[in-house]
C-alpha cells in the first residue's frame, strides 16, 4: 500500500485505536492496528476481542493494500513529527513513514484479514448528539467502580424514563457503592430496555466521541452495543447483570440544606485537601443560625486547616465527615454558580445538586467519624 494523509488525522485515529488493543494477546497481530488503504481513504481498525473501534480518514491512495502495524512506536514517532502531511508505504512486512525531513521504517505484519466489528441484528436503537452524549456520560462515569470484581457497579447504567415517568427522558447513572452520580436529559427516544455499558469501554468510548460532532446512533441487544457515526464505528459487549435499584436510596426529605457558591466551596475543599491525610477526610459543619459552613481537616504529620464560608442554611446544625475527593468529583459536573448540599444527618448520604436544575444529582455516603 502507498498513501499520503494529514498527520493530525492519522495520529488521533491511531491513539484512539490503540486503546482497544489487548497487549496480552497470544497473537501479536491482534495487538496491532489494522490499516486498509482503499479508494480515497485509509481505514483503521483495532480490537481486544471484546470491544473494537474502526474509523476512516481521508487519504490520497496511490496503491491499495492492507497492513497491521504496532501502535506504540508509531504513536511515539508521531508525537514528535511537526509536518502537516505524512507518507505511508508498506514494504515487505515493514511500514515506511516519511515526512519532509525524516524517514522511518517500523516492523509490521502483512495481513489481509483482521476481525471485523460484529453487526447487531434487530437491536434497539438510540440516537444522540455526540457532544451531548460525551458531556452526559462524563458527568457520571467517574463514580463507577474501578475494580471489575463486580462488573455491574463498574459500569454506566443507561435507562429511559422511570417507574413514574416512562419515556421522554433518558438517564445515566454510575456508582461504586460509596457514591452515585445520575444525569437525566430529554431525548426523542422511545422507551428502551436498560443496559450496562462496561466501565473500561465507556472510558474508551467517551475518549472517541469527544473528537467528533453530529449524531451517534447506538444499536444494542442484550449482549452487545454498536455505535455508528459517519466517521467511526465502535463495538462493545455489555455487562449482563442488574444495576442496583438505586432510586430508593435517594432521600426526599432533608434535615439540613446548605446553599453556597460552588467555586468558593471547591477552592476551599482543595485547600483543605492538603491536610486531609491519607484518608482524605474532611469534616463539614453547618451552623444554621449563623449561616456559616465550615470545612476542617487535620493531619497528624502536617497540621490543620479550617475554612469558613458564607452560606444559606436551613434546618438543623450538622456535622459530618466526607472523603474530599468524592466531594470534589461530585461537584465538578454541577454547572451553576451556586450549589446545594442536602444532608439528612451525619450517617446518611449527602445529596449534591444544582439548586435550579435537577438533571444532575450526586449522592455520597459519609465517613464514620
Amino acid at each position: 500500500m502507498e498513501l499520503s494523509c494529514f498527520k493530525t488525522h492519522f495520529q488521533k485515529s491511531i491513539q484512539l485505536a490503540e486503546r482497544q488493543t489487548n497487549q496480552r494477546n497470544a497473537n501479536p497481530v491482534l495487538n496491532g492496528i489494522f490499516l486498509k488503504a482503499e479508494k480515497n481513504h485509509l481505514l483503521i481498525r483495532s480490537t481486544d476481542l471484546y470491544s473494537g473501534f474502526e474509523t476512516k480518514i481521508p487519504a490520497q491512495v496511490k496503491k491499495e493494500g492492507t497492513l497491521v502495524i504496532q501502535a506504540k512506536p508509531i504513536i511515539s514517532l508521531l508525537s514528535s513529527v511537526n509536518d502537516e502531511k505524512i507518507f505511508l508505504e508498506s514494504k515487505n512486512n515493514n511500514i515506511n513513514l516519511t515526512t519532509k525531513n525524516t524517514s522511518t521504517t517500523i516492523k509490521a505484519y502483512d495481513q489481509e484479514d483482521f476481525p471485523k466489528l460484529p453487526k447487531i441484528k434487530n437491536g434497539q436503537k438510540l440516537v444522540f448528539n455526540a457532544e451531548k452524549l460525551f458531556s452526559n456520560m462524563k458527568s457520571v462515569i467517574f463514580a463507577a467502580s474501578e475494580s471489575d470484581i463486580k462488573p455491574e457497579i463498574s459500569s454506566v447504567f443507561f435507562s429511559s424514563g422511570s417507574k413514574n415517568n416512562p419515556g421522554s427522558f433518558f438517564k445515566m447513572a454510575a456508582t461504586d457503592s460509596f457514591r452515585l452520580a445520575e444525569k437525566s436529559f430529554d431525548s426523542k427516544t422511545e422507551k428502551i430496555d436498560s443496559f450496562l455499558f462496561p466501565g473500561k469501554s465507556a472510558l474508551d468510548f467517551i475518549k472517541i466521541i469527544e473528537n467528533f460532532e453530529g449524531d451517534v446512533e447506538l444499536e444494542f441487544d442484550r449482549q452487545h452495543l454498536f455505535a455508528l457515526h459517519p466517521s467511526f464505528s465502535y463495538f462493545t459487549r455489555l455487562i449482563e447483570g442488574n444495576f442496583p435499584d438505586y432510586e430508593q436510596i435517594i432521600p426526599s426529605a432533608f434535615s439540613t440544606e446548605v446553599t453556597l457558591n460552588k467555586k468558593e466551596l471547591t477552592d476551599n475543599l482543595k485547600l483543605a485537601g492538603v491536610f486531609s491525610g491519607r484518608l482524605k477526610e474532611v469534616k463539614l459543619r453547618a451552623y444554621a443560625g449563623d449561616n456559616i459552613f465550615e470545612i476542617t481537616t487535620s493531619d497528624s504529620e502536617l497540621g490543620e486547616h479550617n475554612g469558613q464560608l458564607k452560606a444559606q442554611i436551613t434546618g438543623e446544625n450538622l456535622e459530618a465527615s466526607f472523603n474530599q475527593r468524592y466531594l470534589l468529583e461530585g461537584l465538578e459536573p454541577v454547572n451553576s454558580e451556586d450549589v446545594i448540599l442536602r444532608f439528612s444527618g451525619a450517617s446518611k448520604p449527602l445529596l449534591i445538586q444544582n439548586p435550579r436544575d435537577v438533571s444532575y444529582l450526586y449522592l455520597v455516603m459519609p465517613m464514620k467519624s
Binding site: 476481542l49 475494580s147 456508582t175 460509596f178 449482549q223 484518608l279 459519609p366
Partner: protein, 452 residues
C-alpha cells in the same frame, strides 16, 4: 461420545493445523454448548471470536466433527461462557471509615439489611445457644421454638443475629413474608395508626407476616397499655397460625419491668436463649476476623491480644478500638507498637459519660417504676427501699459521691445509712444474680452510646 471428549479431540486436531498463536486466540474457552439431533452448537467467549470462527473455520470444524460422529449435519456458534465464571478475586476491602450505600440499604419489603448474614456472624461459647436456637427456628419456622426470645447486653451482636435470621429465612423460603422491626418503630407506627384511625390497616399489615422479628422488645416497657395490648393480640393471632415470632431484648423477660404478666408469659412460652459476654479467645477471634490478611499495616497478634484483653464487655466498642488503631497506622504509614496502641485505647475509652446524681436517680426510678420523690421520702416500703439502696450504691460507685453527700441527697439521711446501703448492695451483688443483672442493665442504659 460425550461432548467434552468429542470437543477435546477436535481441538487436538485443530491445534496441529493452525499456528500456536492463532489457536490460543480463537479456540481458547470454546466448547460444545449444546447438541440437538444433527446440529451442534459451539460456545465462544466473544462476538469477535464467534464471527471469526464462522468465517474462517466453520467448514474445517464441521469436517472434523463429521469424521467422528457422522450424524452431525451442521454447526452453529453462539456467545457463551464456559462452565463457571472464573474464580472471582476477593472484593477489595473498602476502607473501614468510608460508609457504603449498603449501610443505608435495607430491603423495603422486609426491612432487613442484607449486610447482616449468618456467614459473617462469629459463633463462640458466649452466643452458641442463641445461634443454635436460631438455626433450629430457620429449619422449622413456627413449629419448634415459638417465640424465640434472645437477650444479651449492648453491642454483643443481637441485632446482627436477628437480621441474619431474617435474611436467611428470606433466602430459604422465598414465599414467606419476613419482616424486621424495632420495637420502638413498631410502637411509633401503632401510635400513629391510632391517631389516624388506621388501626385496622396496621393490624392487617402485621398479621400478614409469616415471620416477624421484633428487636429490643424491652422498649415497650415504657409504652402504654395500648401498645402492649396490640403486641399481645398480634402475637396471639400469629402464634395460632403457626407463624414464627422472634424477639430480642437487653434482658430476660422476667426482668422487663412494667409489662403485663400475660405478655411476659407469652415471651417465655417458646425458648429463651442468652448471649453472654464473649470470652477472651472469642474476642481475639472476632478481632482476627475483622482484619483482612492482605491489609496494609496489619496489627500484630500482640496488639490484637492487647485490644481483646482491654475491651471486654462490648464487641462493637472493641471493633471501634481496632478501627482506630488501623486508621492511626494508615496515617502514620506504618504498624503501631504496643505503647502507641495503649495510648490510643486510653484516649479512646469514651470518658465515661459524666453523669449527674440527678440522672442516676431518675434512671433508677424509671427502671423500678416508682416515683422519684418516693426515693427521698421517709417511706420504708419494700418496693422503695431496694431502689433507694441501689441508687446510693451507684452514687458511690459511679458518681464518687461522699457518704455524707449521698445521705444528704436522700432526704437528709445520715451518712451511716448510705454506708449501710452501699455495703449491703456490694455484698448482695455477689450472691444475687438477678440484682447483678439489674444493675448491669441500669448502667448499660445510663452509659449506652447511641446504637450505630
Amino acid at each position: 461420545m460425550i461432548k467434552e471428549e468429542l470437543w477435546k479431540e477436535i481441538l487436538r486436531e485443530l491445534e496441529l493445523t493452525v499456528s500456536k498463536a492463532n489457536f490460543a486466540t480463537w479456540f481458547q474457552n470454546t466448547f460444545i454448548a449444546d447438541q440437538d439431533e444433527g446440529k451442534i452448537i459451539i460456545g465462544t467467549p466473544s462476538a469477535f471470536i464467534k464471527e471469526w470462527l464462522e468465517d474462517k473455520y466453520q467448514k474445517h470444524i464441521l469436517k472434523c466433527l463429521r469424521a467422528r460422529s457422522p450424524e452431525v449435519r451442521s454447526i452453529e456458534f453462539k456467545i457463551a461462557t464456559f462452565g463457571t465464571v472464573q474464580e472471582k478475586k476477593a472484593e477489595p476491602k473498602s476502607t473501614e471509615e468510608q460508609m457504603d450505600f449498603r449501610d443505608i440499604y435495607t430491603d423495603r419489603e422486609t426491612n432487613l439489611n442484607p449486610k447482616y448474614t449468618l456467614d459473617n456472624f462469629i459463633v463462640g461459647i458466649f452466643n452458641e445457644l442463641a445461634h443454635a436456637s436460631a438455626l433450629s427456628v430457620i429449619k422449622n419456622p413456627g413449629v419448634l421454638y415459638n417465640p424465640l426470645f434472645i437477650y444479651g447486653g449492648v453491642g454483643l451482636g443481637k441485632t446482627h443475629l436477628m437480621q441474619a435470621i431474617g435474611n436467611k429465612m428470606k433466602a430459604d423460603y422465598p414465599d414467606k413474608k419476613v419482616y424486621y422491626v424495632s420495637a420502638e418503630r413498631f410502637a411509633n407506627e401503632l401510635v400513629a395508626a391510632i391517631r389516624n384511625n388506621e388501626t385496622v390497616f396496621f393490624k392487617d399489615k402485621y398479621r400478614s407476616f409469616d415471620v416477624l422479628i421484633i428487636d429490643d422488645i424491652q422498649f415497650i416497657a415504657s409504652r402504654g397499655a395500648a401498645t402492649q395490648e396490640e403486641i399481645f393480640h398480634t402475637f396471639n393471632s400469629m402464634h395460632q397460625a403457626n407463624k414464627q415470632i422472634i424477639f430480642s431484648s437487653d434482658r430476660p423477660p422476667k426482668l422487663i419491668p412494667n409489662i403485663e404478666d400475660r405478655l411476659r408469659s407469652r415471651f417465655e412460652g417458646g425458648t429463651i436463649a442468652d448471649i453472654v459476654e464473649p470470652d477472651y479467645e472469642t474476642r481475639l477471634a472476632i478481632l482476627q476476623s475483622k482484619t483482612a490478611p492482605n491489609q496494609e499495616y496489619q496489627p500484630s497478634l500482640e496488639i490484637l491480644e492487647y485490644i481483646a484483653s482491654a475491651v471486654q464487655s462490648n464487641i462493637r466498642e472493641m471493633e471501634g478500638s481496632l478501627n482506630s488503631v488501623i486508621v492511626r497506622s494508615k496515617m502514620k504509614k506504618r504498624p503501631l507498637d504496643l505503647s502507641e496502641v495503649k495510648e490510643i485505647l486510653t484516649k479512646n475509652e469514651k470518658p465515661r459519660k459524666v453523669l449527674s446524681a440527678q440522672q442516676i436517680i431518675r434512671k433508677i426510678a424509671q427502671f423500678y417504676d416508682i416515683q422519684e420523690k418516693f426515693l427521698f421520702e421517709k417511706t420504708r416500703r419494700k418496693e422503695v427501699v431496694k431502689p433507694r439502696q441501689v441508687a446510693m450504691y451507684l452514687l458511690r460507685e459511679d458518681f464518687n459521691g461522699s457518704f455524707p453527700y449521698i445521705g444528704q441527697k436522700f432526704g437528709g439521711r445520715d451518712h451511716t445509712t448510705a454506708i449501710h446501703a452501699y455495703t449491703k448492695i456490694t455484698n448482695e451483688i455477689k450472691r444475687d444474680d438477678r440484682l447483678k443483672e439489674e444493675i448491669k442493665t441500669i448502667r448499660a442504659q445510663l452509659y449506652e452510646e447511641e446504637k450505630q
